[in-house]
Amino acid sequence: MSDLKTINTGTAIRDGLAEVAKRDQNVLFFAEGVADPSSMFGTLKDLGDVIGPERLIEMPVAENGLCGVAIGTAMMGKRPVISFQRVEFALLAIEQFIDNAAKMHYISNGHHTAPIVLRVVIGRGWGQGPEHSQSLEPLFAHIPGLKVAMPTYPADAKGMVVAAVEDDNPVVLIEHRWCHYVQGQVPDGYYSGSLDGPKMLRSGKDVTIVATSYPVLEAMRAAEALANIGVEAEVFDLRVLRPLNLDDIFDSIRKTGSLITVDTGFRILGMGSEIIAQVTESCFGALQRAPLRIGMPDHPTPSSRGMLPGLYPDSVRIVNESCAMLGVSEDRRAAAEKELIEARGDLPLDVPDPHFRGPF
């Protein structure tokens, strides 16, 4: 077994990319500022030193064209990894992903593949404003032919990013900027993870909580607080949004009978909607009470911190909704809420909660 070191998700992603690029010289990196001092929040740091500069493709600010170019290289056997600082920039290239990348294998009757990784980052905090803070995972997760994943913790993220690059299909990796800061123990060197389903992070018998990305941290935090008042939540990191494999979650529902989903993006038409639909179709008899979705409210995300209270799904909300769902007494609920609020203290809402830095 390789050594473990404590690093954050951003670094773990960088290490995974470096490892896979060392092994396969077909791996290319496309980005605006691919080798610049920021190097995509450090996630591409010093890759040129590892694999040489030729395979780092500096993108002009032309997302649609350059994603098409990357797809063209993929058809020819390359494994391009495109990184965008924000998911919004990828919107300009969505036609290329929906028509050319997602359908390349299908329309060529199996002749071509488009092994491309599209990394997009969800912005949050520091007054980003409505056009730098969207998540929009359903726009990708709706499209057959794409794979879509959202990494949270560093060790998992490293394995996922390697698996994504090695996958013969186009994979969209949606990374939450605040997840980049999450620390954990990560094996050194090369290893590949899986892109085939959710991970149970905590077992419990009372309620199943399924979350993606940064909200996974909120859900885990909520589960701790719930545990302190005697409620046992079973928490899943959904990880892979497409293809969506909910078998473990069905099993969990058969145990808990209760389901809460927590989306990173908008609640309406979010992953929670799909999960609830599938759970209701497949485990109707096991559901003991109405399931519930938590997610971003149905409006753009404003810049000012004045409008943030109550906006992002957080551990307090998850605790409160869990208690309401399970009929937990008001004093127990209040105790759990109090614990969370006190732990956060007077930290502003527009910076990451250090509680979520780990190391986990």
């Binding site: 002009p60 098409g68 170019v69 797809i71 290289t73 390349m104 329309i107 060529s108 199996g110 593949t113």
Partner: protein, 328 residues
Amino acid sequence: MSELRDNARLLHLYKRVLWIRMVEEAIADRYGGPGQVQEMRCPVHLSIGQEASAVGVCEALEVTDKAFSTHRCHAHYLAKGGGIKPMLAEIFGKASGCIGGRGGSMHLAAPEVGMVASVPIVSSSIPLAVGSALADAIDGKDAVSVAFIGDAAIEEGIFHESANFAQLRKLNVIFVCENNLYSVYTPLHERQPDRPLTDVARAHGMLAEHVDGNDVEAVLDCTQRLVRRARQGEGPSFLLLDTYRWREHCGPNFDNDIGYRTEEEFLEWKALDPVEKIRTQLKSEGALDEGDEAALVAELNEAIDEGFEYARNEPLPVPEAARTFVYA
């Protein structure tokens, strides 16, 4: 080059353009209309009138060079060496179609001869050609990638994004723009300001050439120069070819009567018929007599009939095929 070799080349080019013309005419003839048996059940964008640009360009390419096309891909597919049987089977929706009946006429491909893909979203295949050239550049190969586009494609921003990058990296791409004066029913002057179309390439510091698209030899000569340049590392280029689509935008019929263009305009362009042009030249040089012509037509017709016979008799794909190749 000796006159003999010149004529041999011309005869070869003649066979290529005539082949495309005859295949396309056969599709038009047999496509059928309301109330008739219709076996080619997909939209068809015929290349009749535009054969010389396809042939002139593709004859300058090796099989290892790559071509990418659009909705109007029949001529490019055939000129690059795609077979008639997989093509017609595709248009007939058959399992043995070049892409298994998954795309129909607008998606023709024959990767084994370098006809990599046709994409029916305007301009969407342009960056694929550039990406193909980038892959070759990284691998140190001198193959050339050609993006066939129409005159409307240069209105799409992605053309410019692709051209900027191709020139920045001096990639082996040739953007071949067949200006047939229309996007569907809309004439060029309603879509673009009045300036030489080649100026769009010059915006990116790219060499641009402008050649009569109905003159197959001129197209071939120019493309050969551009290919040579590219292989020598001198970068991409833009080749503007004037030509004309004889039939309706989509479908087998003529449509000079419906109001967006005139019979006169059509006749003017028909007078420049790229097929007739070579035929006349060959005849006047005594390199093609009535007998040669008849034999050639008969030979091509036989191949065409065989192609249709094949396409008609091949089985449809089974319904389950729809669920394959979703993921690799």
